[in-house]
């Protein structure tokens, strides 16, 4: 497709500066329009579900500890290699016990892969985004810090934390059969395959 | 024209040069010797039924850990495309390790200039008669070519300017502008110690 140019201005338009006047009229009109500025610290942005913010380890309501089973999937998948887990195997049961769970948040690229691969929904990227600090130590998260982060997040969410489902825990549009048991959470209908949005043309055909 | 046909034509034309033709997912690569690479490219660009006028990509490959017959240590890969005729071909010119050089294609496409500089910079293949054969992405005083397979991922040594920078940090400390926490890699690993286990 060849580009169509607007016609050249004629002599009268040149003398009257018509195109400049149009521009001026437009900016004048915008002078009285409503500004779109958000006065940030007073006016917080509306953070969407599944925002990739501060890391946290979900506190299990029953045990009061993290749900992590030390499967090391997050450590393996982490592209920036910022998760460090140390664990030992319990001699009686043979299950793994997490000794330490550290996330170097300054190395993290917030890709969300760790949340996605976690089979038990232990690690999560919360919707908290205001955690700037003056020293590196306070952005190095160990297990306690991570659990505390979850508590802070739970407090922010209030009662809604009961049914909190992150789109990284239970991706929208993925059949349950393709998820591990712990990820088969109850979700709004919109997230399931049955409730997915389809185009108008497709709808008409059905 | 199908890419395979072009490759066969190329083989007819430069039977001495073409070593191998390989096909993968419909993309045809022609392995050639490096000596007449400019002639091959010129023929591909200028012959009326092929008309490879768009120089898509050039990159160097280190074949050290790769198996295949006719492969020398290094390789320069040219990806060409014909905009009017909509077909593409890949030329893989073999370059030996001891004389890592090949003729430049900037006479044909001057846009190849920076591709070749990048290839020289990262892979260490120099291009004869290139008008400006210098490093492009790395600093001029860099040693080594990072994309060679023997080059370690984290680099060989500390950056040479680090000592100077440390000196500066010490100086800044006098004004209370820094806490002097700049450490070399060795020092860092010392402090981390067990963490890495």
């Amino acid at each position: 497709m060849k580009i169509q140019y607007k016609p050249k201005r004629n002599l009268l338009q040149t003398i009257l500066h018509s195109e400049i006047m149009q521009g001026m009229a437009f900016t004048l009109r915008m002078l009285f329009s409503k500004p779109i500025t958000r006065q940030y610290p007073q006016e917080k942005p509306d953070i969407k579900l599944g925002f990739r913010g501060q890391h946290a380890l979900v506190r299990d309501e029953e045990t009061g500890q993290s749900k992590c089973v030390a499967c090391m999937r997050c450590v393996t998948v982490c592209p920036s290699r910022c998760i460090h887990i140390r664990f030992h195997e319990d001699e009686d049961t043979g299950s793994r016990v997490v000794d330490s769970y550290d996330i170097e948040a300054l190395r993290c690229v917030y890709c969300g892969f760790c949340v996605e691969v976690c089979p038990v929904n232990a690690v999560v990227l919360t919707e908290m985004y205001e955690y700037a600090a003056y020293d590196r130590e306070s952005i190095f998260f160990n297990q306690e810090r991570l659990l505390a982060n979850w508590d802070a997040f739970a407090e922010m969410k209030g009662a809604a934390i009961k049914n909190y489902v992150n789109p990284f825990w239970r991706p929208r549009g993925i059949p349950e059969s393709r998820l591990p048991a712990a990820k088969r959470l109850d979700v709004p209908e919109e997230w399931t395959i049955e409730g997915q949005v389809v185009g108008n043309l497709v709808k008409r055909e059905q | 024209m199908e890419s395979m046909e072009i490759a066969e034509k190329l083989q007819d034309h430069f039977s001495e040069e073409v070593l191998d033709i390989c096909d993968f997912h419909g993309q045809v690569g022609v392995v050639v010797k490096r000596e007449r690479i400019v002639d091959i490219l010129r023929w591909l660009r200028d012959s009326p039924e092929i008309k490879m006028d768009h120089f898509m990509d050039l990159c160097g490959v280190d074949n050290k850990k790769r198996q295949g017959k006719n492969l020398l240590r290094l390789e320069v890969v040219y990806n060409l495309y014909s905009i009017p005729l909509r077909h593409s071909i890949r030329i893989r010119a073999q370059v030996p390790e001891n004389d890592a050089s090949i003729d430049t294609s900037t006479d044909l496409w001057c846009g190849a200039s920076w591709h070749e500089r990048e290839c020289y910079d990262l892979m260490g293949i120099s291009f004869n008669d290139h008008p400006n054969m210098r490093r492009v992405l790395l600093p001029d005083d860099w040693s080594g070519h990072p994309l060679r397979k023997e080059y370690p991922l984290k680099g060989r040594e500390e950056w040479s300017g680090l000592e100077k920078l440390k000196h500066k940090v010490v100086k800044l400390q006098e004004f209370g502008l820094s806490d002097g926490t700049l450490r070399t890699k060795a020092e860092r690993s010392q402090t981390k110690g067990n963490e890495k286990s």
């Binding site: 400049i20 001026m24 900016t27 009285f32 329009s33 | -």
Partner: protein, 322 residues
Amino acid sequence: MHVLIILIEILVLFAVIMLHVAYATYFERKIIGHMQVRMGPMRIGWHGLLQPIADGIKSFFKEDIVPEQADVVTFRAAPIICLTAMLTSLAVLPFAKGWVLANINIGLLFLFAMSSLSSYGVILAGWASNSKYTFLGGLRSMAQVISYEVAMGLSLVGVMMLSGTLNLTKIVEVQGGSFGGMYIFPQIIAFFVFFIAMLAETNRVPFDLPEAETELVSGYATEYSGMRYAIFFMAEYIGMMVMASIGTICFLGGWNGPFEVTIFPPFWFVVKVYAFMFVFIWIRATLPRYRYDQLMTIGWKLLIPLALGNIVLTGFIKAFTG
């Protein structure tokens, strides 16, 4: 005693003008902000009303950096030259009948002299900083001032011919008796030339080449910081005000208005000056920037011939109508 009164007058004028300059920056930021669907300063005071004061205090306490290789004396003097020249020109401006510090007979010429002088400050700043961006900015400014000074002077010749005087107070008085009470009607071509030359003289968009941010970083002021940078800023805004005042006096009938405001005689003068300022800002929010050679072309090939033609035309009309 007389000297003391004049000194007090000067002080009052200085204070008033400085306050105006401070709030002119606020005015500009607010207007441009709203034109760009944002809000402008909002933090300090109600809707950012104290922002200019905070800016002033901040720049006053900031470190005054002098580049190592700079010509220190000239570097330090340059902003002061700018500011002094601009402040001096305020002396001859009649804000209302009798509200003028120095009612001299060559007021218009004096204004031209002073505004040219202030460009020395810019050129010296560009040269003394010993940086290429500032140097280019200084050069551009020099060329711009020289070419647009001519166009501006010529555009005002028509006004002088009509009024028969260079005294600014008299120009306003004579103007009051003309058609519509404003010279803009008989001198529309001159006004057009004057308006464009005015934008160029004050380095405003679309002629802000000496400080073109995206080309020369900040032009002649690149190496300046702290108070000295603020002084350049002040000089620029006073320059804007002076130019707007000249426009008001020569074309819009000065302090004359549809009705008299007895409580505050300069009311109409201030309104007109701020209308000019608003147009300055409005243009800044709308137009892109000319290239350096295009600016020269407009100056020499369009404005000067137009101004000369206007002089001839005015002369003919004056000769035939008496």
